[in-house]
């Protein structure tokens, strides 16, 4: 017993330093160094100048986003003035970054620098590929944390039916109070910059690769592609690319490929490098906090059960947006049989808000398939045909 006493005394003061138990003191997996440049004050919208800005940066992992073919075509090519008006008012940048998961966020210091500690690996929902080789991309987003929640809240597009608001926040919102009062109704976060805004612009993106990059993996060629730039290293890295034109992107999309980047603009760096983000007007970068489309990212069709807001741009359109519309016949496709004149679908832009949106009304069909064998709705009968329906009523092509 006597020999145990010195050990007991020693252990009371000196044996317990290293055991941490359930202390959740996670050291960062990596640190992302950010430099924000520009004058925020000059970019702040009217109605918010009295607020104290809380500028932060956040890591936002990108979603798998399948562009709305209507938007991709009519946003890029001047084929139909009414359709172009709908696309300009209701379509996000179809080659833009679409957010899926907001990760770590830190405040920007007075000198414009910030270091984001990544504590967690991105979860499988934001990675593309298989367990042995999968990849995810993130954009570093600069935002004014107006509601002081300490994180970035993603926005959403308003509904097409009158009175269905989008949100939260962003944009100047509808006016309240005295005429000329442009105080935002919903106090949401304003976005002022992003390292990865669109594939049609030069970008710096955070890449995370598990396993080795497989250049032949078809999925990699469709997920924020950097054709011609080579793959990233395993783990975290900072990739850069110069971007491609929307027209090249559209043509490549029609054939299921990715447009090549200028190799001189490609870059691969470690996270020791600094990601520089210039501040820009929130209206020009707001799309990066707007999730794209429905849960599947594809076009969702809606039954004409309620009259839309006719104040917004609208157009009668084909149901199927074939590559024939842009003069590309895919292998085995005969564009002479494509009926581009049948216009049984109503495309209408969502009311102006934080996020753009377009709704496709269809007299007969399903939410995800206009030519489904068993339609979820059918308004083609005279008894059910809405009196306000402005488009073709014939069978869908």
């Amino acid at each position: 017993m006597k020999s145990l006493l010195p050990l007991l005394a020693f252990c009371l003061v000196g044996c317990q330093d290293k055991v941490l138990g359930l202390l959740d003191n996670a050291t960062p997996l990596v640190n992302i160094h950010v430099k924000v440049t520009g004058d925020l004050q000059a970019l702040r919208p009217p109605g918010t100048l009295a607020e104290t800005p809380h500028l932060r940066v956040a890591v936002v992992w990108g979603a798998t986003y399948l562009p709305d073919a209507f938007c991709a075509i009519y946003q890029t090519l001047p084929l139909d003035p009414s359709a172009t008006a709908v696309a300009q008012a209701g379509c996000r940048d179809d080659f833009g970054f679409a957010p899926s998961l907001v990760g770590e966020s830190v405040a920007v210091s007075a000198d414009g620098t910030a270091t984001i500690p990544l504590i967690n690996l991105p979860n499988a929902a934001v990675l593309i590929g298989e367990v042995t080789s999968r990849i995810g991309y993130a954009s570093i987003i600069v935002f004014d944390d107006r509601n002081e929640s300490g994180t970035l809240e993603l926005h959403r597009a308003p509904g097409t039916a009158v009175g269905v608001p989008g949100g939260p926040g962003g944009g100047t919102g509808p006016a309240v109070g005295a005429p000329g009062d442009v105080t935002p109704v919903i106090k949401g976060d304003f976005v002022y910059g992003a390292s990865f805004v669109s594939m049609t612009q030069p970008d710096q993106r955070i890449a995370y690769l598990e396993g080795t990059f497989d250049a032949n993996n078809a999925l990699y060629g469709l997920f924020y592609p950097r054709a011609g730039c080579g793959g990233p290293p395993t783990g975290f890295s900072v990739l850069s690319a110069g971007g491609f034109s929307a027209v090249d992107g559209l043509k490549a999309m029609a054939t299921g490929s990715a447009p090549a980047e200028d190799p001189t603009t490609c870059g691969t760096a470690t996270l020791d490098s600094t990601v520089t983000i210039p501040l820009q007007a929130t209206e020009t970068v707001r799309d990066v906090v707007c999730p794209g489309g429905g849960t599947s990212g594809t076009v969702r069709y809606v039954a004409p059960a309620a009259q839309p807001d006719w104040q917004q741009p609208w157009a009668c359109m084909p149901v199927v947006y074939s590559a024939c519309l842009v003069g590309i016949a895919l292998p085995g496709q005969d564009c002479s049989t494509f009926n581009a004149k049948a216009r049984p679908s109503l495309a209408i832009a969502a009311p102006p808000g934080d996020c753009k949106g377009t709704t496709h009304f269809l007299l007969k069909g399903c939410a995800t398939d206009p030519n489904c064998a068993t339609p979820q709705w059918d308004y083609t009968t005279p008894a059910k045909l809405p009196v306000w329906w402005p488009c073709d009523t014939g069978a869908t092509p």
Binding site: L4, C11, Q16, K18, L20, G21, L22, L121, T234
Partner: protein, 155 residues
Amino acid sequence: MLTGLPAALATGMTAGVSAGILHAGTFTWGARASYSQATEYTTTWAVTHNEVRLRAVGALQGRLGRGTVGLRLGAGVTALYETRVRAQAARLGDAAGSLDTSAWSALPGGELEGFIALPIVGPFGLGLSAGPSLHVFQGAVVPGWLAQLTAVWWP
């Protein structure tokens, strides 16, 4: 067999094996040793504690029918080996190893157990004991409990 609250984890249950000797007599003494393990999780770590409890014990015991009942006070050191594995870090490949940590520690501790032992076949029988425990971890007294089911031999 031994089960109880881990010495230095705020939750969970440690389980393992134990052995000990106890002299005959009303007021008597002996020694016990045990090994047990517990694994619990935080949002970023999987924490495993391997505990070796070394105890000097004093006991007050008496006969009750064919069995023996008593009260046993143990005091000593709990040697603790901790491994912390970063959640999901294996996905990082070779870089994951540097994130994991391990550490030794020794904690003063003790238990006060009530026990009962009953001979079943000749000098062999079963014993059951349970009671509160205390450890000193990072300067604070950590209360807990302990329960043991043992094979007993009366030589």
